[in-house]
Symmetry: C2
Subunit: 520 residues, 2 copies
């Protein structure tokens, strides 16, 4: 036995012991409860329910916490919710019951509906347990500021535990939503990123997390609705591919039966094939995989790509306009339909409202470089933007144009992938663009080379093997007539993060993957 195995056995033995002890304790408690129940007039009004195993289809209506308003005053209702906080005080016990972003105060008090034992039972329910309560809705004289349902409280007549939480929680919800003021206040715990992610099931219950991911669902919905309205077709592209795209760097390898395959770094080639197959305008939403060993605030090894590709008639700005229109529709939709979520996140992570212009501001790369130089940055004409320079440019643009969203058009040809169409008027530049939110890149796109011969030239210029399957597929797609086309790929988690003014992409990925994290 290795030391590790011995440790594991030891641990197991200990946990068995602990389990036995727990069981004994439970039995003791049960006996005690039984004895007490004999003299308790309310004994059928509380307790731990049998596991819900679909024993019968009850007709009972459960009222949602958000619907507990003064209109329901004096009604007897059933509510299922989590035990958010519990405070016992003599013959009374005050509970806060939570359901997603909403919560309500509830009172169990010794009287003709509740016994002393029942109040004690309620007081001992563990936090985060799920309970069913039957209660009368009562309006309150003084607003309850700590609950979303200010104007009412519940007077509990029955209370049953539906699912019991462990007594010891790995993190406290109230710590997890404490405003992020940059410095730790004395005596007030905060929860660090890793603890949150290790215990994501609990961290996702906070009002902030609920708001973030409901808004993210909205981003996808707005993206699709806008594009479907414009006549786009949704496509599904394969994630397991036979050849690494764009030269093979940063790609994950998969064992595929007796051979090897790769995880797609983008749906690029497949979107383009759909254009060559006459789908005209396509989009897809799906995972994108990057085997980059980057441990930054904005890189993930797996993220969700919102991808667009579109045939155009004469100029790739036809496509660029479609994409910026779509982004603007997303921004407007979030502003108009997710204001509650935005405000909720803002309470914990303060940020200024996201600003955008109509039409979207479009600057040429050279203009951007000129602005940076005027601000003291030294850089070459055809040099790519570093991350700090992107951020600085974002600040300069915000100062000058008052927008958090803009397009930088006509990137130097050298810094773009081989399939990027060169600028017809200046061979050092290209028909390509990035889009920025709050100074960080969220989309990269371009007119693509749709001519097989030019593509071969460009690939060989980039030192890409012309016989590699990837470039063969590319060329092949263009041999049977290809419309001019352009497109781009958007990072979903970045859009959510930057729209909300958050500072770490792990906050906008439910189960983030980075070089150091593969769980949960």
């Amino acid at each position: 036995l290795t030391a590790q195995e011995m440790a594991a056995e030891e641990e197991q033995a200990q946990s068995k012991k602990a389990l036995k002890k727990q069981q004994k304790e439970a039995e003791k408690q049960a006996k005690k409860a039984e004895k007490q129940a004999k003299m308790d007039f309310a004994k059928d009004r509380y307790g731990v329910s049998a596991m819900v195993q679909s024993q019968e289809r009850l007709g009972r209506t459960l009222i949602r916490v958000q619907d507990l308003t003064p209109e329901k005053a004096n009604q007897l209702v059933w509510v299922r919710a989590r035990m958010h906080t519990i405070r016992a005080k003599g013959k009374q016990c005050f509970l806060v019951l939570r359901q997603q972003q909403f919560n309500v105060q509830a009172l169990v008090a010794v009287g003709d509906r509740a016994s002393k034992q029942m109040v004690k039972f309620a007081a001992n329910i563990t936090k985060e347990s799920i309970v069913d309560v039957e209660a009368v809705v009562q309006t309150v004289e003084q607003k309850i500021e700590t609950c979303t349902q200010h104007d009412v409280e519940l007077h509990v007549e029955r209370i049953f535990v539906i699912s019991q939480a462990d007594a010891r929680l790995p993190l406290q919800l109230e710590d997890a939503v404490r405003p992020d003021v940059g410095v730790e206040e004395e005596g007030r715990a905060t929860v660090n990123q890793d603890t949150r992610l290790d215990n994501r099931v609990i961290d996702l219950r906070t009002t902030t997390s609920q708001a973030i991911f409901r808004l993210q669902s909205g981003v996808c919905q707005l993206f699709r609705d806008t594009l479907l309205q414009k006549g786009f077709v949704e496509i599904q592209t394969p994630k397991i591919i036979s050849a690494a795209s764009e030269g093979g760097a940063n790609v994950f390898t998969v064992s595929y039966f007796k051979t090897s395959a790769y995880l797609a770094q983008s749906p690029q080639l497949y979107k383009q094939m759909c254009i060559c197959a006459d789908f005209d305008k396509v989009f897809c939403i799906g995972p994108v995989f990057r085997a980059e060993d980057s441990n930054t605030h904005r890189h993930l090894t797996e993220f969700v790509g919102l991808d667009i590709e579109m045939a155009f008639n004469y100029h790739y700005h036809e496509v660029l306009d479609s994409i910026t229109d779509t982004m603007v529709e997303i921004f407007k939709g979030l502003r108009d339909r997710f204001q509650t979520e935005i405000q909720t996140v803002c309470k914990q992570y303060h940020s200024e409202p996201f600003k955008f212009l109509e039409p979207t501001l479009r600057l040429e790369y050279q203009e951007g470089v000129a602005m940076l130089r005027a601000a003291g940055v030294e850089m070459g004409d055809e040099e790519d933007l570093s991350t700090p320079n992107e951020k600085l440019l974002g600040r300069l643009v915000k100062e000058k144009y008052d927008t958090d969203f803009y397009v930088l058009d006509k990137y130097p040809l050298e810094v773009r992938p081989f399939y990027t169409m060169p600028d017809p008027h200046n061979p050092k530049y290209s028909n390509s663009y990035d889009m920025f939110m709050r100074g960080e890149e969220i989309l990269s796109g371009a007119q693509r080379v749709h001519d097989a011969q030019l593509l071969t030239e460009r690939a060989s210029h980039h030192g890409i093997d012309a016989l590699s399957i990837d470039s063969k597929l590319h060329k092949y797609s263009f041999r049977y007539g290809a419309p001019p086309h352009a497109g781009g790929g958007i990072g979903l988690e970045r859009v959510t993060m930057l729209y909300l003014g958050l500072h770490n992409i792990r906050q906008t990925s439910m189960f983030p993957r980075d070089p150091k994290r593969l769980t949960p």
Copy 2:
């Protein structure tokens, strides 16, 4: 040099030679054309356009083929389309121009707008090339039965090639849409599956493929719209996971930096974590990976899963009803909004219209077994359904109830995964269900065990290591209060295939992946 390298060099040398020869020929043709052009009054009215490189943003409006109707009679319009067929006849040349599912006849005839040379040029354009034509819309006396635009033809005044297709196509579109009558008609070519898939960019241009994938886009849209309306939240779940789910069979391995990871076989666990994190009702659409070496008409190694998970109050039939409602909304939406696509596919692959009932038919597993036994099948009470028996049961149900869609509820516990909730009234059965379309399974689902202790028991009964990360994560999720919940996963390609009455799943996956196919 190895023999292989020498062969490669030889090939390269030969292709260089061929290229030179081609170039010489092209130069010769160009000179000839130049000479001819000098005496051609129409020389500026046709030719090969320079590659569209976004030289300028032309204001020119292109009319869509589907909009070419008698209302446009006598108007001079620009149209961009593919050269579908070309037939020269003396001083005239008849073209069919195609745009997605639509096509129109066009005529280039020697006269005051077109020269002999121009007609010859048009006659020599390769099929599938993309052209811009300027033409007068003319109504016709006799309906043109072979085109979707029956009532008009185009009288061409200018014609330019925008993107030239190779002269030799790997498959002919007219062969690829020939009705599937089971036997090959003499002298009429058909295209086999592998040729289609190897040349998917061309195969996807057929009216049948266009219809299939537009309808598939509709399935996703209807699925999401229905669920968003019901208050579901869209989630994104990771595809790279640290532990194989459900025991580890049939899972693809990924190299993940210095360690190994797996591709998710389903979003199961993550959907459940979202339910434990209070999202209440969630759905996701994304790739699902199965390393099964199955070469059947209905298995893919990568397919698109439409997944649902939902907390319920008292009985999992609350969830089952939500899912069948959603399926019915999809069927209705397809019937009402995609009739053209359904008819188009039907022309090539005949099938009866898809039938469904409201409310959806729900049979218990035991009833299904009884029906099979009455039809002469011998099987045990707790035996799983074989594929042939599923199909037979589908036929029996169709005969008796006249529906192509039904639910089989209460499967034997033994044949379901360890996290399936046992039936409270009969421990040999479970709260689980499959859904069938035309006798084939499209969804598998169940109430899940949401109690950590019962889950441990069930896992150990199935011989699953209680310390594996997967079951630890499962249990962990349920330790802090878990609502009862149920859900299911639907295969997108199967729904499309079976709704349209197709017989191979490769017809409803744009770029299918199976043990033998990784390209394109």
